[in-house]
């Protein structure tokens, strides 16, 4: 086992860190306040190759390992979790194609992302189907060499700016999860509408909307996998994306820890810097220890994928532990800052709001525990 980063891993990490520090950080508070879509930051990320990291080199991507992707993603999230979510939303949407698409589908549907700034959305969640994916009611009806989609999706990241949508719909609701099928809708065809940008608690730089399908036609050639395989496609996608989501938590927590170390060295009470009070030290020590623990779980979950193995268990460990950890660490960061931490002029309350989302999206912390238990009982 070798914990030493390779020269190339360090170079990738340094490049992402420089972008996060010099390009993202100075604007993070602005985009949090306004909740505008950070187009300039995302275009800069595109120029530097910090988006679409999952696309294989055969289709114009960089061919990064999963381990390299999570190292880069931690840096992006350290800059701003909302920006990181916007960037990896493309991976989430494209993973079904990467994992289950045909060569033709990969060429047609992935390559354009490597040529220009382009966003895609992963459309799984519905108003009546979040954790319970199989309860979905968006339908796909076959008509000759097309399918016709009808239904509504909610909380869709990048919805307002995407011109490609990876959509899960059922060909037969009675079949429950065995009816779910995955499709890729190109462009914004007639019948596809997106709602207003949601006013969110955190990660406000990321765009979140409803996506509605009213008789939207998709060619059969854009069905990913077979009819009824969509549930498996979605689950395989989430196995692959959970290490990235976990790394967002690690990036948020590291930012909270660093701010807390700085502040606790400066703020004085009872005649000394607060970091000299043991009660504060214990908080700082726990923050550092848990951040690093989550990082190691994240690395492992990515490494298992790099070995070509199934990582369901490890990626649920990583995502759940890292999300719960980031919530605790950022709450403690606000605590270290005292009353100032509660104020928007200071950077830590944003981190606390940003962290909360990771316990919810891509499978809540409760759902992760269900997955873990199911794996343990196998």
């Amino acid at each position: 086992m070798d914990f030493q980063l390779t020269e190339s891993q360090r170079a990738l990490q340094d490049a992402a860190r420089k972008y996060a520090r010099e390009v993202v950080r100075p604007k993070a508070a602005h985009y949090d306040e306004t909740s505008e879509f950070p187009k300039d930051l995302l275009s800069a990320a595109f120029e530097l190759g910090l988006i679409n990291m999952a696309i294989p080199s055969e289709y114009g991507g960089l061919g990064l390992s999963h381990l390299e992707q999570v190292m880069v993603c931690e840096e992006l999230a350290w800059g701003c979790a909302g920006v990181a979510t916007s960037l990896i939303a493309n991976d989430l949407a494209n993973l079904p194609i990467i994992l289950h698409g045909t060569d033709d589908q990969k060429k047609r549907l992935l390559t354009p992302f490597t040529q220009k700034v382009k966003f895609s959305s992963f459309c799984l969640t519905e108003p009546g189907a979040g954790s319970d994916v199989a309860a979905m009611s968006t339908t796909a009806r076959r008509e000759g060499d097309h399918y016709v989609l009808n239904g509504s999706k909610c909380f869709i990241t990048n919805g307002g700016y995407a011109d490609q949508f990876t959509v899960f719909a059922t060909v037969d609701k009675a079949k429950k999860h065995k009816g779910i099928t995955c499709f890729v809708v190109e462009g914004r065809p007639q019948g596809l509408t997106t709602g207003k940008h949601e006013n969110k608690m955190g990660q406000r730089a990321s765009n979140t909307t409803t996506v509605t399908f009213d008789e939207v036609r998709v060619p059969v050639a854009n069905r990913i996998g077979e009819e009824g395989q969509g549930f498996l496609v979605a689950m395989a996608t989430l196995d692959n994306s959970r290490p990235l989501t976990a790394s967002i938590s690690v990036g948020i927590a590291r930012a909270a820890l660093e701010h807390s170390l700085d502040y606790s060295a400066q703020r004085q009470t009872f005649g000394k810097p607060i970091r000299e009070h043991q009660g504060v030290q214990f908080m700082l020590a726990d923050m550092a220890m848990n951040t690093h623990g989550a990082r190691l779980l994240t690395y492992e979950s990515a490494w298992v994928l790099d070995q070509g193995q199934r990582n369901t268990l490890q990626s649920s460990y990583a995502k759940c532990f890292a999300a719960d950890m980031a919530m605790k660490v950022t709450t403690d960061a606000v605590q270290v800052y005292g009353g100032y931490g509660y104020m928007k002029e200071y950077p830590v309350e944003k981190l606390m709001r940003d962290a909360k989302l990771i316990q919810v999206y891509e499978g809540t912390s409760q759902v992760q525990r269900l997955v873990i238990a199911k794996e343990l009982f196998k």
Binding site: E7, S8, D14, L48, G49, L62, G63, L64
Partner: protein
Amino acid sequence: MKILVTAKRVEDPESKIKVKPDGSGIVQEGLKYKINPFDEIGVEEGLRLAAKHGGEVVVVSIGTKDVQEQLRHALAMGATRAVWVNHAGALDQLGIAALLQKVVEKEKPDLVVLGKQSIDDDQNQVGQYLAEFLGWGQATFASKVESLESEAEKNKVPAVALTADGKAVRVVREVDNGLATLEVQLPAVVTTDLRLNQPRYASLPGIMKAKSKPIEELTPEKLGVDVTPRIQVLKMSAPPARKAGIKVPDVATLVEKLHNEAKVV
């Protein structure tokens, strides 16, 4: 146009630098390293010149295998290939310039661009020695007329300008009381100052491409250079810690202290 640039490995200015208690050097443990920022500006200028006039940028570094990290950084920025002079022991500025002279004689570039100094030893000698050893013209402390935020900067135009006949470069230099413009015949040596340009970021595609770019290995022996240092570092010490300042109650006291204690007014 063939341009040779340098990429010295230096301590990251963001690392905490501590002098060893016995004064024999600095504590290496936990330090991070990066390319000397002035060299990075040199790499950027080389790339801009090559983009404008065609040609290639070759990057050179001297040191142990670790310096390959800085060579790869320059390759990731866009340099075509690298030369690594493998040497582990101490070096002084004359030794470095002598090694670079041999590399230059081998590579035959039209222009050598180096940082005006490296941020570790702050010697500011190598470029000048190198020009002298080669018998070439030199333009040190290259800067630019426009501010960093100018449109020209954004368009990535080189600040070092090739003359119309392509036989010389015009260089704006930072001098004590402003800017001076020099024209130097090629081949020449240019050293970079801080305001010459803002180096591009290494991109992920650049980093991945750099992995397969060639690094040629040389040694002082192969180059036939005796690098025995003529300078010996006897002792290093940290600058004395700054004493805390004082607060004065009013302007009158301030003026009184400036006059009687600091003796500046």
